[in-house]
Symmetry: none
Subunit: 196 residues, 4 copies
Amino acid sequence: MPKIGMQPIRSSALVEAVISEIGHSGTMDVTVSQIAKRAGMSTALAHHYFGSKNQMFVAAMHHILIQLGAEFSKNLKGVDDPLERVEIIIRTSFSDLNMRQETISAWLNFYVFAQKSEDVRRLLKIYHSRLESNLRHELRKLAPEKAETIAEGIAAIIDGGYVRWVLRGAKNEAQHPERIALEYLRLNLSEHGPRT
Amino acid sequence: MPKIGMQPIRSSALVEAVISEIGHSGTMDVTVSQIAKRAGMSTALAHHYFGSKNQMFVAAMHHILIQLGAEFSKNLKGVDDPLERVEIIIRTSFSDLNMRQETISAWLNFYVFAQKSEDVRRLLKIYHSRLESNLRHELRKLAPEKAETIAEGIAAIIDGGYVRWVLRGAKNEAQHPERIALEYLRLNLSEHGPRT
Amino acid sequence: MPKIGMQPIRSSALVEAVISEIGHSGTMDVTVSQIAKRAGMSTALAHHYFGSKNQMFVAAMHHILIQLGAEFSKNLKGVDDPLERVEIIIRTSFSDLNMRQETISAWLNFYVFAQKSEDVRRLLKIYHSRLESNLRHELRKLAPEKAETIAEGIAAIIDGGYVRWVLRGAKNEAQHPERIALEYLRLNLSEHGPRT
Amino acid sequence: MPKIGMQPIRSSALVEAVISEIGHSGTMDVTVSQIAKRAGMSTALAHHYFGSKNQMFVAAMHHILIQLGAEFSKNLKGVDDPLERVEIIIRTSFSDLNMRQETISAWLNFYVFAQKSEDVRRLLKIYHSRLESNLRHELRKLAPEKAETIAEGIAAIIDGGYVRWVLRGAKNEAQHPERIALEYLRLNLSEHGPRT
DNA sequence: AATGAATGAGCCTTCATTCAT
DNA sequence: AATGAATGAAGGCTCATTCAT
């Protein structure tokens, strides 16, 4: 009596194990053993489902991006005001979920990994373009001639914020990247056409 | 009397080889073999001078930071105007030398490595505090009540800029982080008290 | 269901290979490769089962002692006469099995190894105390006031006998340590109270 | 101005370093580095004088034997009584100098090494034959028909005594091998022809 | 579906030894 | 006489991956 329908269960257990393990160790130097053990299965089974360690990483990256995308969608749903939408994008980027040391650590590692894995690089690029195109789309309505630049600025502050947040043990609310990004946005817009 | 004074030569050859090798492969998954070969010596000699692979990495990080610090010093020498000094810090951060894919790649990898190596973490922290304290020092003269925030913002744009620059193959001058950072600075200051 | 129950088979194959390899080479400078090859498996598997070369040695020592203990038990079973029991202990110590160059060589090496390995030192001490306590127990019935000394004497002759036997290639029956030990015992007892 | 006549100084420094180092570590797994450092010179110079690590060991063994031989000669000088001579041999074997953990440890290691090195094996054999022939020579005057056996017995107790002494941390004077050996001698002789 | 068993390949590290000076 | 410099060779150990069951 073989169990059926195990595949999705096993897969997501593994994906979460990958993220968790990377987050804890801070590196991608995690063994398939560690991952499999945390996912509660043998290494052989892990390979059975993913074929290779590499693909486990890719799947994990994919998972993070899907999840992040879903979070964006959910928070943006029903909101029409452009400024509000941009602010939501910023706030979501720095949500508690995304600021967890574990997540950022995995994220940072995937940035590095992208330089080796074509697959991950592609995933990241897609994610980046989507984020920026979203930003630009709204910003064009707010500050047409600077939209591109502001979008890139916000994106840079987001990425830089992650990196610095995880590196600096101490958390200083005054230096929370969310504040920085929102302020950056406000400044740009107020210059263009002052908002109250 | 034996052949003498090889140590500094070998050491710096190794350090450069480490950076170069990490830069090329994009990962810290480089073998001591590769490093030693690129530095033109045997792995045994590499170990003789550094004791372990880990310490080669630490030395390389150290080297990058020292070099960066020197570049800052040089460019800032003789400049007194606070605004000018901040702009120089930004421009130096994005100098051609520092924007080389090789350097940034190594840099990014060291960020990750910092989560494993106490030594590297310490080095990074020192560097960060120095950079930020420099920024704050000048910014207090320009915008006292926002100095902290602006400093953090600039630092975030710098780090985010690195990450995104190396990730995105294509270079778009409009999105060059230097422009973003300078504009960010200008905006903040012009709001505070318009400059000529 | 995988091939199962290999562990004990592999373990004992390895243990025997260790003893055999040490016996042949006369040193503990044997590589894991040699051991694994003689045991018919890869070095990786050897490490899988024992974790480290050191533990292979410890396991081998353990094995020798267990085996020796079993031999003693077997030969002593059902024998009640104290003198006979002491003689059996001596004879068993010098049984053909225990006098094999291979075994003694391993034995001698473990003596040396004990100075490095806490584990082996403990094993040896336990074995020694057990042997001596056995000897003393019987000797107290035969020569109460000299039991301790005789026991130590016999033990010394046993250990010295091993060492000299393996060192001296030529075997001279007149100098067989068994004879020496038995004679030593006889002398001590005859002085104390003549036997029939 | 090359220094002249350094050779004997360097040699004996090295020989002592070898013994010392083996004694401290309890193994022959000492590196030429360690030896050379303790002898206050470079490894290159150590090789210059001895050619190879192996020969350093051989020289050290040689040194120990020479020194032991000298001790015997000194103590036996002028003594004519056979019994007294045998007792002196025993007492010298267990002199404080020879019972030092360091010495015994080196000694034990050389026993093992003898199984690999033809040179050391030869040295040991010569030493053994000389010791035994001395013993036999005297014992023939005391107990002609048992001389061989007694000699071997004493020798076994000596070697066994060393081994057990170094193994057992605790020193129990009642179990000091010297006492055992002397008692063994007395017993054998008293049986043959009682002495007062 | 699942896993113990097994291994090839490779990596870091150590070390005896040689050489030029 | 003396040593820093340098390396080839080898060893212990790890790990991703495959396979038989």
